[in-house]
């Protein structure tokens, strides 16, 4: 290997800076996976990008199987840095430069196109920080070579609160393991899988109470610790996330949107509302969702669709009372879905949700959410709802009730679907996933029996959801 001592040579010789170790594999072209990030200045040139190599002629993208090295590790020429899976094989990719692995840009399990940057290599330790900031810059810019983050999965409301998914165990839970062999807490006894999970979930085992045999820490203890710390973090995250820009003790006037929300809420007090709740089994819906999720279908779209189909059978629930004297039967079923956005709440509307097929509905929803986030929704896209859905299930809320938006007849509050022990009709005890829904309606036009029948229909549709995909 040519030693590249002079920076000026680098541009020409970049191609051979990284190669996979297994050169014997057939049909393999020698990849080029590093390149200086910038040729503008000599100093910057010392930070090199590590690119996804082309491990075979047919390879278009590669998956990072594992990073052999961690950020900050010193790399010596010829050492394996990363294991890449192509369409044909897993291969170790080694470096032909000495330096430091400054920043990993595509995590393990991530996929990157051939030729896109997967990490940064700094020549000296001092440049790591510089490389890190560069990595950040790249991943935040739209032209980031890293794969896009997975689309928001089951969230019906894009979550604006930065809830950390993985946080170290909250200090509250720090209790020494009661394992007799733990030498009074000096030694942690944890099963192999518990240790593996702890590493994955970033849980500090010293803070986990073992419930396994002899008080050893087992996998479920680690999972419990991870969940409780997330919950704790979610709690503590709120004041923290609210902190920037909020001066405690000050008075901040409403924004336009908040003003509108306030007016609407007060106005809603003039409407005589009542509430009817229902528990719906969601096993079949969950299974359907799993099946069609790869086709881009979201849970929000599924719920909206189910609601719209039920409304089609009960037009009165889709009606409203505008003047206090008459029913207004809406000609179309437009499902508004409440979305929390920065500094407020908005209700993008899925038009004709009973008629539009589930795939188009899902696509429409994604567009609406993107627009809502960018605050680019047009009035007809958020003000034409005839029935509103509000879902707080993703926060673990099991039930709540909603305030009826003025001008509509009903709003449905959807709680989380949770595994529940139930007695079945044949006298057995079984486990089913159930969610609670609670409809708030204007009693001037919608009566208790109407809502009850509507909910019964909705439950039937959700419990046997084959009609949702038609």
């Amino acid at each position: 290997m040519v030693s590249l001592s002079k920076q000026s040579m680098m541009a020409q010789l970049l191609n051979s800076s990284f190669t996979p170790t297994t050169r014997g594999l057939r049909r393999q072209s020698i990849p080029s996976i590093t390149q200086t990030t910038s040729r503008k200045s000599q100093i910057q040139a010392k930070i090199r990008e590590i690119f996804m190599p082309a491990l075979s002629s047919t390879m278009t993208e590669g998956k990072i199987v594992s990073w052999v090295k961690s950020e900050g590790d010193k790399l010596a020429k010829g050492e394996s840095v990363v294991v890449v899976e192509s369409d044909k094989a897993d291969m170790d990719v080694e470096t032909f430069y000495d330096g430091y692995l400054a920043a990993i840009m595509v995590e393990e399990g991530g996929v990157a196109a051939v030729g896109s940057a997967i990490a940064l290599l700094a020549e000296t330790e001092d440049e790591i920080a510089q490389a890190l900031s560069k990595a950040k810059e790249q991943s935040s810019s739209s032209s980031s070579p890293a794969p896009p983050p997975p689309p928001p999965a089951e969230t019906t409301i894009p979550d604006p609160v930065p809830v950390a998914t993985v946080v170290k165990a909250a200090p509250v839970t720090v209790v020494a393991s009661t394992h007799p062999a733990s030498d009074g807490g000096k030694r942690i006894v944890a099963s192999p899988y518990a240790k593996k999970l702890a590493k994955e979930l970033n849980v500090d085992l010293s803070g986990v109470v073992g419930t396994g045999p002899m008080g050893r820490i087992v996998a479920k203890d680690v999972e419990a610790a991870a969940v409780s710390s997330v919950a704790a973090a979610a709690e503590s995250a709120k004041p923290i996330s609210a902190a920037p820009g909020v001066e405690l003790g000050s008075v901040v006037p409403f924004t336009t949107m908040q003003g509108a929300v306030s007016r609407n809420m007060v106005e809603s007090l003039g409407v005589p509302t009542f509430r009817v709740g229902y528990t719906i089994t969601t096993d079949a819906l969950d299974a359907l969702y799993k099946k069609i999720k790869p086709k881009g279908v979201t849970m929000t779209a599924l719920l909206a669709k189910a609601t719209a189909l039920a409304l089609a059978k009960h037009p009165v629930v889709n009606s409203s009372c505008r003047d206090g004297k008459s029913f207004t039967y809406n000609s179309s079923i437009n499902i508004a879905v409440a979305v929390a956005i920065d500094g407020g709440l908005i209700t993008p509307v899925l038009q004709n949700a009973d008629k539009v097929d589930i795939y188009s509905l899902s696509r429409n929803w994604k567009e609406l959410v993107e627009k809502a986030r960018a605050k680019q929704l047009q009035p007809q896209e958020y003000s034409t709802g005839t029935f509103t859905l509000s879902n707080l299930g993703m926060f673990g809320v099991d039930r709540f009730d909603a305030i009826l938006p003025p001008g509509t007849g009903a709003i449905m509050a959807v709680g989380a679907s949770q595994p529940t022990v139930v007695a079945t009709k044949d006298g057995r005890i079984g486990m089913k996933s159930q969610m609670q829904v609670n409809v708030t309606a204007d009693h001037r036009v919608i009566y208790g029996a109407d809502l009850a029948q509507f909910l019964q229909t909705l439950a039937k549709i959700i419990e046997d959801p084959k009609d949702l995909t038609f």
Partner: protein, 558 residues
């Protein structure tokens, strides 16, 4: 079959548990998990062979003459032409071949027909592995989903799984017994020992004479000192195969074939596993590249952790409400390192030859660390370095290559010799396999061994590789994980070693091992046709990708 009890044994005996110092300073004795695959190790462990090598040919002639006794005048008439002590796979293979050669044959067994392999080794372990393979597949939702299959909650009944293993063992045992009796081999019951030249005692006081005698007494699990085996919470493979309980957490001492296969079984049945390995890396016997992939496929994604570079200096079974306690010391410094408290421990540190009470002193033979010294024709060597006439030793008892099929091959080789045809078994062409999911198999040299040999003998080696990801059948099965690797001489096309990790690797290796046994060259193998689409195309591709720089001969017949 064969893997479970076969391989790692020797390695452990090389490790300081046993008389490590007795071993001459071989360049890298630890790099070898099954002894005998490398010739230099054989020679080093049997230095006396060289001393007597001068007289070898003469003795060889003598044997030939004696075996054709019918046309000569034998000193006296014998009860049998051939008596085999031990009815394991080695003894069975020898007996069957002896009958084919027209020899009057008896086989002595003090325990059960079938020996370790059939009763406490390869056979029952394959039953457990068949279960673990299916469990693993059914539990792998992702894999099932990718195939479009929906399965709800796979479970197992421990006793039924255990019964499957014991039923299989007894079925194979019956088959073996029937095949012997059907062919007219006398099965003599009782422990056999050698009284003197060509004279054997079995049972209490039955004495028989035989023109030739084969020792095939096999081996037993090796338990290093400091480890207390109670058969319940601290067990060897003998106990573990009965699957009397599936612990939540089990330590496996030794990460050779036996340990690795058991880790596959236990993790599939829901246990968590901790490996304890004396060497610095897991699975040290494998080709390093295969070992690395095996770690990635068989260890990392499973509920397994490990301690390497440590000995289990003391293991106490669970009692009085306390768990199994394992004390670990650093393999090099011998410093106390850690104490583990676990539900159970499986000792898979290898196997020790079962040669006590054989009466070897009557013919002046001294065992070496328990092994019966033999030459390359399995002829027993006495304390003075001379060959003992008419006495052979095959299988685990000689320690050359502790694999059931190697024992059988050695037995056949001996029968060839005693029936008048010289024969030397090429141990380098004996394949070995580990029946994990996916399987691992190999034949010949590893890459480092081949490099060493190439350096010594001044030739070049090349390596070719193919991936299961490029194989249609493997992809159809959604089992693309795997690698096949060929180490060869580019100047001659000679195969030095083949290593496979992937779906059905144990079945795939034979194309390579047969080619090696028959001396076939890659440039000829390239023209052999493989059915499409089959896994065998992995090897096809491997051969085709090799670059041999000799003038290619024309295919013999196409």
């Amino acid at each position: 079959m064969h893997s479970l009890i076969s391989a790692s044994p020797i390695s452990s005996l090389f490790e300081p548990y046993a008389s490590h110092t007795a071993l001459p300073s071989s360049p890298a004795p630890f790099s070898l998990r099954f002894c005998g695959l490398r010739r230099e190790v054989l020679q080093l462990s049997q230095p006396k062979y060289r001393v007597v090598s001068g007289s070898l040919k003469k003795t060889g002639n003598y044997v030939t003459a004696a075996s054709s006794g019918s046309n000569g005048s034998p000193l006296k008439s014998f009860d049998y032409d051939l008596v085999i002590i031990g009815a394991g796979v080695g003894g069975h293979g020898a007996a069957l071949h002896a009958v084919e050669k027209g020899l009057k044959t008896a086989i002595i067994e003090g325990d059960v027909i079938g020996g370790t392999c059939v009763n406490r080794g390869c056979v029952p372990s394959k039953a457990l592995l068949a279960v673990s393979g299916r469990m693993r597949e059914l539990q792998d939702e992702h894999h099932m989903k990718a195939l479009g299959i929906q399965v709800s909650g796979a479970g197992y009944n421990r006793q039924a799984v255990a019964d499957h293993a014991s039923n299989l063992a007894s079925k194979i045992r019956n088959n073996l017994t029937n095949s012997l009796t059907a062919l007219g081999v006398d099965i003599l019951t009782g422990f056999g020992s050698i009284l003197g030249p060509q004279k054997v005692k079995y049972g209490k006081d039955n004495v028989i004479t035989a023109k030739d005698i084969i020792i095939a007494t096999g081996s037993v699990p090796f338990v290093p000192k400091g480890i207390e085996v109670d058969g319940k919470t601290v067990v060897t493979s003998d106990h573990a195969l009965k699957l009397e309980f599936v612990p939540e957490w089990i330590a496996i001492v030794g990460s050779g074939y036996i340990g690795l296969e058991f880790s596959d079984v236990y993790t599939a049945l829901g246990s968590e596993v901790t490996f304890i390995e004396a060497l610095d890396q897991l699975m040290p016997g494998f080709d390093p590249e295969i070992g690395k992939l095996a770690q990635r496929v068989l260890i990392n994604p499973r509920k397994i952790d490990y301690h390497t570079g440590v000995f289990a200096s003391k293991i106490t079974p669970a009692k009085n409400g306390k768990p199994v306690i394992i004390e670990l010391i650093d393999a090099k410094t011998k410093e106390q390192k850690e104490t583990l408290e676990i539900d159970a421990a499986l000792i898979a540190t290898g196997r020790a030859p079962f040669t006590k009470g054989l009466g070897l002193e009557n013919i002046n033979v001294e065992t070496q660390r328990g092994f019966v010294p033999v030459d390359e024709r399995m002829r027993v060597i006495d304390a003075k370095g001379n060959l003992v006439p008419h006495l052979y030793c095959i299988g685990d008892a000689n320690g050359k290559l502790m694999l059931a099929h190697a024992a059988s091959a050695q037995g056949i080789s001996v029968v060839e010799q005693v029936s008048g045809k010289d024969h030397v078994l090429n141990h380098l062409s004996v394949p070995a396999a580990c029946f994990t999911h996916p399987e691992i198999s190999m034949v010949g040299l590893t890459e480092p061994q081949a490099k060493e040999k190439a350096k010594k003998e001044k030739f070049k080696i090349s390596v070719a590789k193919t991936s299961f990801k490029a194989n249609t059948k493997a992809l159809a099965e959604n089992e693309g994980e795997g690698l096949a690797k060929l180490i060869y001489r580019p100047d001659t096309g000679e195969i030095l070693g083949v290593h496979i990790l992937g779906l059905h690797a144990a079945d795939l290796i034979h194309e390579a091992s047969n080619a090696m046994a028959l001396g076939m060259r890659i440039q000829d193998l390239k023209f052999a046709v493989h059915a499409h689409p089959t896994l065998s195309e992995v090897l096809d591709e491997l051969f085709k990708s090799a670059q041999v720089n000799v003038e290619e001969r024309k295919p013999v017949a196409v």
